[in-house]
Subunit: 207 residues, 2 copies
Amino acid sequence: MASAETPSAAQAGPRLGLRERKKIQTRQAIRRAAYRLFEQQGYDATPVDRIAEAADVSPSTVFRYFPTKEDIVLTDEYDPVLEAAIRARPAAETPVEAIRQGVLASMQRILDHDVTELRQRTRLMREVPALRARAAEGMTESARMLCTVLAERTGRPADDIELRIVVSAVFAAMNEALMCWVEQGQTGDLIALIGRTLDVLARGLTL
Amino acid sequence: MASAETPSAAQAGPRLGLRERKKIQTRQAIRRAAYRLFEQQGYDATPVDRIAEAADVSPSTVFRYFPTKEDIVLTDEYDPVLEAAIRARPAAETPVEAIRQGVLASMQRILDHDVTELRQRTRLMREVPALRARAAEGMTESARMLCTVLAERTGRPADDIELRIVVSAVFAAMNEALMCWVEQGQTGDLIALIGRTLDVLARGLTL
DNA sequence: CAATCTTTTGAGAGTTACTGTCATTTGACT
DNA sequence: AGTCAAATGACAGTAACTCTCAAAAGATTG
């Protein structure tokens, strides 16, 4: 979603055909309606049919835009951001440091771009088990991406065991940090928190 | 499941009433039928109704024993094993070392106890997205348990951020190692693999 | 051992998240 | 204006649950 759905993006593309613009609108309408209803009555208590109704589309259309109800909340474009950020790091940097800088940079970008959405998303992720589970599943996909990027950097194969372990540990820790942030009311300095998180990993999990 | 469902456990409890014994049998029958059908036709292609049929119980009964279809595969008793193993470690040991020894010891116990089941479970966990997601969700519960135990050890609060990060990183890494093991045909030395995994963590994720 | 009490079970109806199909609508392009 | 392709909506169907209630079966007590 992100850039494609932001209000600012509406005027950003006068070269998009009417069809494309309508698709973006529909997608946005569905997500907006969904977030509003989830806020009001909770995720589980809101059937997709009602979201469709509120967004003024048919239930079929909702499922055409979002394969599952969870996707309405969880679809994001963070992976490309992270990938770009890490690729931007100098090749001489160690993997851990490249991850650190890449992660911090992309988190900053996401924060600058749409904190509100990040807030809603993470709050729901914490409160709704189905979303938590699905988000974890999404992390394994992101992890595969990061593995590929780091494989290029280090010359290791992309399915290298140690590489996969590093990457999955990083994602899990970041996710946990995010959950902590939510529990503390999403008020603290998220960048600093993630920095500390990566510190813990880099120092070998010593307490 | 584990101990309660093993054949050997059947004669282990002559002090259990007929009712209890029947419950154990039913539970076992459902899981056996399910595993068999999953093997034959795959997880998604096997409706709960057919599992019920194969286990000779009503669909209602299946849901009474296992709240969700996923639970048929994922329900286990590993947490208490791990908890006991870690509590058994001397208080002087560092947290990381206690985790290492506890994890290795309990994994050894599980391997000794029922490799077959671990094999089936992990294979399904790798192949079925729904199970992968649900398993991840289960890990966060295990993580909360480990946090509590380590909190006692270290004198930190159970919701200490660094503690939570350490624990979630460990679980994620172990899970990834397990997945690697499955991909390699579940043939390698799992204990050694987990040992190496914890090494990577302890050395600060350096490659 | 019979009567009662409690737990377990099965049957059936209802909800919801999907999936697939098909006719209709609606931009796009000539 | 007319044709073509894509998007939509209506509808039927499946499967995972959830709830309720009455029947069956083990436990308990006199």
